[in-house]
């Protein structure tokens, strides 16, 4: 199974094709490219990965989630290469008979992807600058690599 994709993630198709009569609760996270970042206008994003390692780790993260929660299905993808404004960089779908499990597992997977997957974002700005994400860009605002903007 390939979780790290060079082609565009087609969210609408993924969702239209998804069928699960036994679930009841389907939670989807779609991480898209924002048009502004760090106060500047973004041109596009470029993602690089240690592809084999990232793919293996995604498999492990999904397995872990399936062990921790009662899930009917899990779908997870991360794009690499160039991703345009508004497009999906990361997609996680979790379904369960219970909404609590669907929400918690979904967020768990996203946090693992963001903090552990050997995969890196490079922001390309309209002004021609580019900037590799380190941990995440939050430290530029919080001044601490371990404090994210949503923790403040």
């Amino acid at each position: 199974m390939e979780y790290i994709l060079t082609e565009k993630i087609d969210i609408a198709k993924l969702i239209a094709d998804f069928e699960d009569d036994s679930a009841g609760a389907v939670v989807i996270f779609n991480g898209t490219v924002r048009k502004r970042s760090l106060g500047k206008e973004v041109s596009h994003l470029f993602y690089e990965a240690a592809e084999e390692m990232a793919n293996k780790m995604m498999e492990e993260i999904i397995q872990e989630a399936k062990e921790k929660w009662d899930l009917s299905s899990v779908i997870a993808f991360h794009s690499i290469g160039e991703v345009a404004i508004g497009e999906s960089a990361v997609f996680v779908l979790t379904s369960s008979p219970h909404r609590k499990e669907a929400y918690e597992s979904n967020r768990y997977i996203i946090e693992k992807i963001k903090h552990e997957l050997p995969l890196w974002k490079c922001e390309h700005f309209v002004d021609g600058e580019k900037k590799w994400g380190g941990n995440c860009s939050c430290q530029e605002i919080t001044g601490d690599a371990n404090v994210h903007i949503y923790d403040k």
């Binding site: 991480g31 993602y47 690089e48 240690a50 084999e52 390692m53 293996k56 991360h78 960089a89 990361v90 996203i110 992807i113 963001k114 903090h115 552990e116 997957l117 050997p118 995969l119 890196w120 974002k121 490079c122 590799w132 994400g133 380190g134 941990n135 995440c136 860009s137 690599a145």
Partner: protein, 77 residues
């Protein structure tokens, strides 16, 4: 041994390079890389290391024919 650098690390080291010194551990390799480019020390301190695609700790022993990946902090999503 072959050393692969990713993302921001490529501002400091080649993407892929044959490392000629013979470090006995990952810790020693890390030290050698820091000496090779002192401005990379701060980022190297945040990196994880993998040997043949598996994460290892700093005291992991090296033989000399491994493929080492230097993995900067994740920034996916």
């Amino acid at each position: 041994m072959k050393i692969k650098s990713y993302a921001i690390l490529k501002d400091y080291f080649p993407a892929e390079v044959q490392h000629s010194s013979c470090p006995k551990t990952i810790a020693e390799l890390k030290e050698q890389l820091s000496q090779q480019n002192p401005s990379a020390k701060a980022i190297l301190d945040l990196c994880r290391f993998a040997v043949d695609d598996a994460f290892v700790s700093l005291n992991h022993q090296l033989i000399g024919n491994e493929k080492i990946s230097v993995i900067p902090p994740s920034s996916g999503g």
